[in-house]
């Protein structure tokens, strides 16, 4: 196979260039739009597959472009990047299919898909950023691209939510700018290097390094929805279902979590971070967020809000795994990045189908929906069980590694935390399943027994649910997310 050094750039451009074309298309050109959307998404999946093959073979991709003296725009494709790109490419394809179905007759489709494309471009850019400066560029682009999606409905409630979203994320971005500058001033580089770039600077000036850690994690914590910076996430639920799905599973919260990973592993280096005494508080914060999110989820009646708080809780598993500073926990964290994405996107698409097909938006209305929409609810149930951590589903794998990592790091409390969290997960998910499958939908007698939703809405959640099953069941197969994460952890911990 030929060697294309610009491959990462092409992957970025597939969605970046699609965006202006989509903006410019007239509203009626629905077919052309769909063709471009799906074509680009499929192309991207193929390019990513190619790229991962090359990276697995040991090819190194490194594209640089000087923006300011010494400061570079840098794209790289290391295994960690591949993990995240693969997730976003695959889920983008699936979500695109879903969005086309979801917005079939909605207004402003040109705008929607333009920003949707831009959003994925930003996510891919975040994944491939070779330094914190480039990361910042795409991180802000992500904010700007998602804002119009969040307020897509264009009503007062959406705009209020959008305002909150914008204030949180742009303030976070500003703090990230501060942190990036601080890193630049302190270390003279913003590059991501396994093992970190701050070892010397941290030894000389530990206070500044600690401060920098707090600033960077604080900035990324906004998007990663770390307690107490999570408030925007449940409010942003006014967005259309595909947007929520993308926001939660792939783009925004994952960008934050991914950034935390980069910062801990490749800016500070896990040893330096530990030496600075910053990992333990981070782990504790993640633990608090896990429990807090779950507790809040129990009290929500709105399905999407319950899922949102569940996200707050679940994403912090990733942070927890990073902060435990053990290779095995790191495997769990990375695997959860993928697994949580698959499970959460399934649930959001399923929730969207319930709202579309049956008008069901609240948990209390879910009686008997399993019989009305069996496919959708089956997918939902599979994902929910995975979240709870039932073997052999994907969620179990990540929790297992996290628990083992906790033991390895000598942090026994992690086991208790995981058990407690799983219990809470069960408390808020099982009643939904119970209602869906074991109660009669007497209240919804007026609704049609078999609501018709198009295949474009029905198929995506089922697909991702199958992926949840596969990722868990075949966790040890080559190129499975788990195997890939082991590859990454070898790099991060051996350097």
């Amino acid at each position: 196979m030929m060697d294309a050094p610009l491959l990462p750039l092409f992957i970025l451009l597939t969605s970046l260039l699609a965006s202006p074309v989509l903006f410019a298309l007239p509203e009626r050109a629905a077919r052309l739009r769909t063709a471009i959307n799906l074509g680009m998404a499929a192309l991207k999946v193929m390019l990513v597959a190619w790229l991962s093959l090359k990276v697995a073979q040991g090819v190194i991709y490194d594209l640089r472009f000087e923006v300011l003296p010494g400061l570079e725009f840098k794209l790289q494709a290391d295994p960690l990047a591949i993990l995240f790109i693969a997730l976003s490419a695959v889920l983008w394809l699936i979500t695109t299919v879903y969005s086309v179905g979801y917005l079939e007759h909605g207004p402003h489709r040109a705008r929607f898909f333009g920003f949707f494309s831009l959003c994925v471009a930003a996510t891919v850019g975040i994944a491939m950023s070779g330094n914190l400066f480039t990361f910042l560029l795409f991180y802000e682009l992500l904010t700007l691209a998602t804002y119009p999606l969040v307020i897509h409905c264009g009503n007062a409630e959406a705009l209020r939510a959008g305002r909150t979203y914008l204030i949180y994320t742009l303030a976070g971005g500003l703090v990230l700018l501060l942190g990036t500058l601080g890193l630049w001033v302190l270390a003279g580089t913003t590059d991501f290097v396994p093992g970190g770039v701050l070892t010397d600077a941290a030894a000389q000036n530990p206070l500044a390094a600690q401060l920098l850690f707090v600033v960077l994690i604080g900035a990324l914590g906004v998007k990663a929805a770390l307690f107490p910076l999570h408030a925007w996430l449940p409010i942003a639920m006014v967005a259309p279902a595909p947007v929520s799905a993308l926001l939660h599973a792939v783009a925004v919260v994952k960008a934050g979590a991914f950034g935390i990973m980069r910062v801990v592993y490749e800016v500070f280096g896990i040893e330096t971070a530990q030496a600075l005494g910053m990992t333990a508080p981070l782990a504790a914060l993640a633990g608090v967020t896990i429990i807090y999110g779950s507790l809040k989820a129990i009290t929500q009646d709105d399905i999407k809000k319950r899922l949102a708080y569940s996200t707050v809780s679940q994403v912090s598993y990733i942070t927890l795994g990073v902060a435990l500073a053990s290779p095995i926990a790191a495997v769990g964290a990375l695997a959860h990045l993928i697994h949580q994405g698959l499970m959460k996107i399934t649930m959001f698409m399923a929730a969207g189908n319930l709202a579309e097909g049956l008008g069901v938006k609240k948990v209390s209305q879910m009686d008997g929906v399993g019989r009305a929409m069996p496919g959708t609810m089956l997918a939902f149930s599979l994902a929910a069980l995975g979240m709870i951590g039932l073997p052999p589903l994907a969620g179990f794998v990540s929790k297992w590694y996290l628990a083992q990592g906790g033991l390895e790091a000598g942090q026994g409390w992690v086991i208790a935390l995981l058990l407690g969290s799983s219990l809470l997960n069960a408390v808020y998910f099982l009643p939904m399943l119970h209602r869906a499958w074991f109660r009669d939908g007497a209240a919804d007698a007026g609704a049609p027994a078999r609501p018709r939703i198009g295949w474009m809405l029905a198929a995506p959640p089922v697909t991702t649910a199958v992926l949840v099953l596969v990722a868990g069941g075949f966790a040890n197969a080559p190129f499975s997310p788990l195997e890939w994460t082991r590859f990454i952890v070898d790099i991060e911990y051996l350097e």
Binding site: E27, E66, L68, G154, L166, V185
Partner: protein, 485 residues
């Protein structure tokens, strides 16, 4: 007998001859204007090539040489400013063709071109000048032409604003002239080179103070900004774009230049300048948050942004002055491009919707999508989000401030950024809200060729950020700040 023409002379004389021709032949004014603009741009490109190849260029007019005669000098910074002027000027001119096409606007059309070309003469003259009295004459050329453009629409509000602008302008120029007088009293010469290494005596401190206050008045630095919002908000869109994007930059540039040759006498004064800038950032932000009309909001954002440029200028104290100018220059370029785009877009929005009351933007079933998009892109650069040029400028600002431990300037910049997010998001909300419209909304209404120029400017404001490294190295040509040229 062949005539040796220098690119510098052309950069000043082409718009001058253009103005004369456009004034003599009102019917062909637009054509003459565009041709003159294009030729001037060509001259600037030629000059840029010259400077790129052989460093700073000096032209001793009349062959006398400073201090007796007047020298023209082009280095990286001046050529960058010239390039900003011609690029923005050319695009604004193109969009002026559309903005002034109305049947009742024949007189506006007729006078826009000569005034704008005279303005261009003055602005280009400022960027090439090395003589402080010559700068005084140039800022007067700019002032008269700019006032003429301000009142082009002839409405009462515009004339009122233009008169206030005129008072401020004359006063600023006279303060500057008095400063020139004091420089002469002390040093007996007026060229830049003669200012260097002068002992800061009482007369020179007075001169610096007078010239600085005069220029601050011209560039609308808080608290001397009072004339700007009304003047920029009430002018017609192309005029606003020129005034906000280019005219205030001329005075800013003179401040930068003077600081090169006559350093601020003390750290305290420099801090005071920074404080004025900070005041502008805060006050401009507050007023932009309160503004009821779109163009007024944009005008107040100019006040805030100019403050930010002065913060950039003062960001690293006296010792850092040799570096600070780069951050300031980047912000000047960024603001010039982005603000011109924004005013043109605001003008388009106003034309399409029929009003520019921010509160009622979302009541209109007409959504000039492309103009709104342009506005948003320009806002991204003005807020300073990556990868725009505004972001790079802000990066340079904050980096310098951090490196020298001036955390207060970092805080000011961050507060300013948040405020700009807040006031621009008021506008975005108006663009994106749809539930207050009764009539059905057409998504792609208002596509027009007229959007091309502002959109190009807006994309330039974003894309130039990626070109920051070459821009910076160009800026440094022949201009080692603090080292004798």
């Amino acid at each position: 007998m062949s005539v040796d023409i220098s690119a510098m002379m052309l950069a000043i004389f082409l718009p001058l001859f253009g103005a004369i021709a456009a004034f003599l032949l009102p019917r062909a004014a637009a054509l003459i204007g565009l041709v003159a603009l294009a030729l001037t741009t060509g001259a600037v490109i030629w000059l840029a090539r010259e400077v790129w190849q052989s460093g700073a260029v000096i032209l001793p007019l009349g062959g006398w040489g400073a201090p007796l005669g007047i020298d023209l000098r082009a280095d990286g910074l001046s050529v960058a400013m010239l390039a900003l002027t011609s690029a923005v000027g050319l695009l604004v001119s193109v969009s002026a063709l559309d903005a002034l096409k109305g049947a009742g606007q024949s007189r506006q059309r007729q006078y826009f071109w000569p005034l704008w070309l005279l303005l261009l003469t003055g602005i280009n003259g400022v960027y090439l000048s090395t003589d402080i009295f010559n700068l005084y004459v140039m800022i007067e050329v700019i002032a008269l032409a700019a006032v003429g453009l301000t009142v082009l629409s002839g409405t009462r509000a515009a004339v009122q604003a233009g008169l206030e602008y005129m008072y401020a302008s004359i006063l600023g120029a006279l303060l500057f002239l008095m400063g020139v007088g004091f420089v002469y009293l002390q040093l007996g010469r007026l060229d830049f080179a003669g200012l260097m290494d002068a002992e800061p005596t009482g007369a020179l401190i007075a001169a610096v103070a007078l010239m600085f206050v005069g220029l601050a008045l011209k560039t609308a630095l808080f608290p001397l900004h009072f004339w700007l919002p009304a003047a920029h908000a009430n002018a017609t869109a192309p005029a606003s774009a020129l005034l906000s994007g280019l005219v205030v930059k001329a005075a800013l540039y003179i401040v930068l230049r003077l600081a090169q040759y006559m350093p601020f006498p003390s750290e305290a004064l420099l801090t005071l300048v920074g404080m004025m800038g900070a005041g502008a950032v805060i006050w401009g932000g507050i007023q932009a948050l309160r503004a009821e009309r779109l163009k007024l909001l944009v005008a107040w954002s100019t006040v805030a942004q100019i403050g930010l440029i002065f913060v950039a200028f003062a960001r690293a104290g006296e010792l850092g002055l040799t570096e600070s100018w780069k951050a300031a220059a980047l912000l000047i370029l960024a603001h010039g491009v982005a603000k011109a785009a924004m005013f043109l877009a605001a003008g388009r929005i106003k034309d399409e919707i029929g009003h520019d009351v921010i509160r009622d933007l979302d009541r209109s079933p007409i959504r000039p999508t492309l103009a709104q998009f342009t506005f948003a892109l320009a806002a991204i650069s003005l807020i300073g989000l990556p990868p725009s040029l505004g972001f790079i400028g802000k990066w340079a600002l904050m980096e310098g401030a951090m490196a020298s431990g001036y955390w207060h300037w970092v805080v000011v910049t961050m507060v300013g950024t948040l405020m700009s997010v807040a006031y621009f998001s008021r506008v975005f909300a108006g663009f994106l809200r749809f539930d207050r419209v009764r009539a059905p909304v057409g998504e792609h209404q208002g596509w027009a060729l007229a959007d091309a120029a502002p959109l190009t400017l807006a994309f330039a404001a974003i894309g130039l950020g990626l070109m920051a490294a070459p821009i910076l190295s160009f800026l440094e040509i022949g201009y080692p700040f603090g080292v004798a040229p």
